[in-house]
């Protein structure tokens, strides 16, 4: 690793990795119940624990894994499953395009290997980190590997204990994921303009969810929010202050 003369030198290496792990830590309580639920549902659909582990490791995208289970049938409609996976994961195109310029000194190999585990939570925490500081590869790995291990352990455990566990909505745990994302949304709040973006996204997502089947609501909401931001853009110099500068002062 090359030595950095600037202030970020202290943030390199194991400290950044540990920071990633500890940043992710609270999310374990949101991810583990969802993983247990996924494993239990997968067992009901006839997937073996090893198949659950393989899907979690290779796909590593919770939303599309749940969607795949929903479509799972005998004979297995693999074309439909693969295409639905692509549709629900289209949001990752915007996510990786948004995160790519905010990375620290990543090699090309690190970018292409690292983004294999660009799950929603990994991306969200990396974006949150990028508000104040470039996201280093070590930080990203700390977050990503912790989620990876949590997800595999929880889903396999869920598929093994399966039916023993009841309905997670009994404990409100189905809301944990929503609560997590609401907290993350509030972290991006920068005033009225963010409010307009959120209103546009929320409205478009709800309407699309009501009237269009499938996972299009996420794309519709994202596009509506992006359009709202573009319309609100004001190219006078005073608005050029970057959020990072604003937060560091």
């Amino acid at each position: 690793m090359k030595t950095n003369q600037n202030k970020s030198a202290v943030n390199a290496g194991p400290n950044e990795f540990l920071l990633g792990v500890t940043t992710f830590f609270p999310l374990i309580f949101a991810v583990a119940p969802i993983g247990l639920l996924f494993g239990a549902l997968a067992a009901q659909k006839g997937l073996s624990p090893l198949e659950v582990l393989l899907m979690g490791s290779f796909v590593f995208a919770g939303g599309s894994q749940f969607l795949a289970l929903d479509l799972w049938a005998d004979p297995l409609p693999w074309v439909t499953v693969a295409f639905s996976t692509f549709l629900i994961n289209l949001r990752h195109v915007l996510m990786s395009a948004s995160l790519a310029p905010k990375l620290g000194h990543w090699t090309t190999l690190q970018r292409y290997l690292g983004f294999f585990i660009l799950a929603d939570e990994v991306w969200a925490l990396s974006e949150q980190r990028a508000i104040k500081h470039h996201t280093t590869f070590s930080f990203y790995l700390g977050v990503g590997l912790t989620l990876f291990v949590t997800w595999q352990v929880a889903t396999v455990a869920g598929s093994l204990i399966g039916a023993v566990m009841g309905d997670p909505s009994r404990f409100g745990l189905d809301f944990a994921f929503t609560a997590l994302f609401i907290c993350l949304v509030m972290g991006f709040w920068q005033g009225r303009k963010t409010g307009v973006v959120l209103a546009a996204s929320g409205l478009a997502a709800v309407l699309t969810y009501k009237f269009v089947p499938g996972a299009w609501y996420i794309i519709a909401g994202a596009v509506a929010g992006v359009i709202a931001a573009a319309i609100q853009y004001d190219d006078s110099p005073k608005t050029q202050l970057k959020p990072a500068e604003a937060l560091q002062s």
Partner: protein
């Protein structure tokens, strides 16, 4: 029993690999895109809105179109998130959704 745990159907494996390929494609698409296109001004402002816009879209159906308990719990979580650490705000959200669901079904 152990043979059931480690059973892998060839078609299941193939489906998993097809899912993995389409997911990886979406994840690196942004990397490829940003190598050829640089964003500035209005497009940069638009791209900066991507994180909150996506997070909002993911939660919106549950937060606003499921029921009064979920919508109220969403508002409580959002307010809590402004003042409290994330884990505490999440816990308040989960507890409030349980309490609200019980309260709303009691009537």
């Amino acid at each position: 029993m152990s043979s059931e745990i480690f059973a892998v159907d060839p078609l299941v494996l193939f489906t998993i690999l097809a899912m993995a390929a389409s997911t990886y494609l979406t994840r690196i698409a942004g990397l490829v895109l940003t190598r050829f296109v640089t964003f500035s001004g209005r497009t940069e402002a638009a791209l900066q809105a991507v994180p909150p816009a996506i997070l909002m879209s993911v939660v919106a159906p549950i937060a606003f179109a499921t029921g009064a308990a979920e919508t109220t719990a969403t508002a409580i979580t959002a307010i809590a998130a402004l003042r409290l650490p994330m884990l505490a705000a999440m816990a308040i959200g989960v507890v409030s959704v349980v309490v609200l669901r019980m309260a709303l079904t009691a009537f």
